[in-house]
């Protein structure tokens, strides 16, 4: 059997048994349940109604929670396995290095994406049963955005795991990465930079490079592409790229970033000491 498939399957099975996965699934399932309980499907705010309102809120919460979850669990398990001697033993078996690295990444992607998507899908099914309208084009777009976001942070997590030699360093690196990206969202540090009249190119460059920013903007631009909601730099980028252009960018860029990060991670993994 193909070693890549075997490694991915092994990683999926290992993750499904772990406590973090149970906690992770409960968090995302719980968010959707709470949103239903608070009657978000019934409310009408800023033009969002029915399930769309719930999905928009859910996706905003995902921006905050999903990346840090992916980063911390990925670096903990990959760097932790290496530190505990799992790599020493498993890589003494004739598994090609590409199969080990990318198999782990694919397996982990399945595990981190499915609960997030599953919670959203359950919400859609529940809404249909209750006779609440479901905007399927929005559902598909959000699914695609979640794929892109999960892949981006998984790639960054794999890179950090390769660079850091201990789980503690890897975990600190992952947390700092998330914090920096979060702080450089349009409405936080970028807003401050604009107020301080720093060069526009720098501000827009940072906003373009931040996968959290592209995800957040793409998630809400369908409804209300106003500067007060999107933030000034996103507004400028949206103005330059147009709606379709921005959506294409918001889907393609995180996937490219994740693949590039993981690719660098794989290159370093291959060129360094394995255990």
């Amino acid at each position: 059997m193909n070693a890549l498939y075997l490694t991915a399957r092994l990683d999926i099975a290992e993750s499904l048994r772990s406590r973090w996965f149970m906690f992770y699934s409960i968090v995302f399932g719980g968010i959707v349940m709470l949103l239903f309980m608070f009657g978000l499907t019934e409310s009408r705010i800023l033009g969002f109604t029915g399930l769309s309102r719930l999905l928009v809120t859910y996706i905003q919460l995902c921006v905050a929670i999903l990346p840090v979850f992916i980063l911390i669990t990925t670096v903990r398990s990959v760097a932790g396995d290496r530190d505990a001697g799992v790599f020493e033993y498993m890589l003494s078996l004739p598994v090609p290095l590409y199969a080990w690295f990318w198999g782990k990444m694919i397996g982990r992607f399945v595990v981190v994406f499915l609960p997030v998507f599953g919670a959203m899908a359950l919400a859609a099914v529940y809404a249909m049963v209750r006779g609440i309208g479901v905007d399927w084009s929005l559902f598909v777009l959000y699914t695609a955005l979640l794929v892109a976001l999960a892949w981006a942070f998984l790639g960054i997590g794999m890179l950090i795991s390769t660079l850091a030699r201990t789980p503690d360093v890897a975990q600190t690196g992952a947390f700092l990465t998330w914090l920096v990206l979060l702080l450089f969202l349009d409405l936080i540090l970028l807003g401050l930079m604009i107020r301080e009249r720093l060069p526009l190119e720098l501000i827009v460059g940072i906003a373009v490079a931040n996968p959290l920013q592209s995800f957040r903007t793409a998630a809400i631009l369908l409804f209300d592409p106003q500067m007060v909601v999107l933030g000034p730099s996103s507004y400028v980028i949206l103005d330059a790229l147009g709606r379709s252009g921005y959506l294409t960018f918001a889907l393609a860029y995180p996937v490219a970033l994740g693949t590039l990060s993981a690719g660098i991670g794989y290159f370093l993994f291959r060129r360094g000491d394995l255990p």
């Binding site: 059997m1 070693a3 075997l6 092994l10 099975a13 290992e14 048994r17 772990s18 505990a84 001697g85 799992v86 790599f87 020493e88 033993y89 498993m90 890589l91 003494s92 078996l93 004739p94 598994v95 090609p96 290095l97 060129r271 360094g272 000491d273 394995l274 255990p275």
Partner: protein, 281 residues
């Protein structure tokens, strides 16, 4: 079969291996001994292609790092510290067999031979097994396929006497067609298993010597130890070897595996003042 040519490895300015050169042929069973930090594990990791290093390592003419599948298909590896794998034992066996292109049944047969109740352990997480069970599983995975390069780090340390005997027997079956590299802190643990001793010290080969041994790896020696008087501490030590007392504890009778006799004599040496006579045949 295996050639180390001027192999060196440095970690953050600390030279762990310093110009190691060794040539190992088929049929050689090598005890790689040395104190902690002597470089044994690093040398093994270079051989497994897990560490980058200076110099050259080749197995059958090819470097392991660039030819992982070719080289590692022939390697059976038992690490000193079992990895903390959370996966069930059955899954580990299936994965190992699949990537090695082997049949899981061969591993299961081997594990059963070593005295492990397969039906009991197959669904248990590997990490939850006892030290001895883990060791048997790792030995089973290493020997349950066509491996002719056996790399074992203190492989028999956690095995009971019966499992040790079976393990020695399994090694004996392969002794002419395989290379065995067995590491240990103590020579007496592995001396009788090997026909060559390589001692490492501060990253260098300090001693490389051949060993002549008339006792077969599979031999079992009937043994009687006579004491000048009964002694509770000695009784406890003999209990570990499954010996039974005679003459009110002044004589002890049991069976010692051939390769274990040096280790057994080491235990007796601690009670040299008490021992009146030893018979081993």
């Amino acid at each position: 079969m295996i050639v180390f040519e001027n192999v060196s490895k440095t970690f953050k300015r600390h030279r762990v291996l310093d110009g190691v050169s060794l040539s190992i042929d088929k049929g050689e069973r090598i005890a790689l001994v040395g104190s902690n930090g002597a470089g044994k594990t690093t040398l093994i990791r270079c051989l497994l292609g897990e560490y980058l290093h200076e110099g050259k390592v080749t197995v059958n003419g090819v470097p392991p790092r660039g030819n992982r599948k070719t080289v590692l298909s022939h390697v059976g590896f038992v690490p000193q510290i079992p990895p903390p794998l959370k996966m069930p034992v059955g899954e580990l066996v299936n994965f190992s067999a699949a990537v090695c292109g082997s049949d899981p049944e061969r591993i299961i047969t081997m594990v059963r031979e070593l005295g492990l109740d397969w039906d009991m352990v197959r669904s248990r997480p590997f990490v939850k097994l006892s030290g001895g069970m883990k060791q048997k599983m790792l030995i089973g995975i290493a020997l349950g396929r066509d491996s002719d390069l056996l790399i074992m780090d203190e492989p028999a340390a956690n095995l009971d006497p019966e499992a040790r005997h079976i393990f020695f027997h399994l090694l004996h079956e392969r002794k002419d067609n395989a290379v065995m590299l067995i590491t240990s802190h103590r020579l007496d643990e592995v001396a009788a298993l090997v026909n060559r001793v390589v001692e490492m010290d501060q990253g260098k080969v300090a001693l490389d010597d051949r060993v002549a041994d008339d006792v077969e790896m599979t031999a079992r020696l009937d043994c009687v130890v006579r004491l000048t008087r009964a002694e509770p501490a000695f009784a406890r030590a003999m209990g570990d070897w499954h010996f039974s007392a005679e003459e009110g504890g002044q004589a002890w009778r049991g069976v010692v595996n051939g390769p274990d006799r040096l280790r057994f004599l080491g235990v007796l040496a601690r009670y040299a003042g008490l021992v009146a006579g030893i018979e081993m045949k």
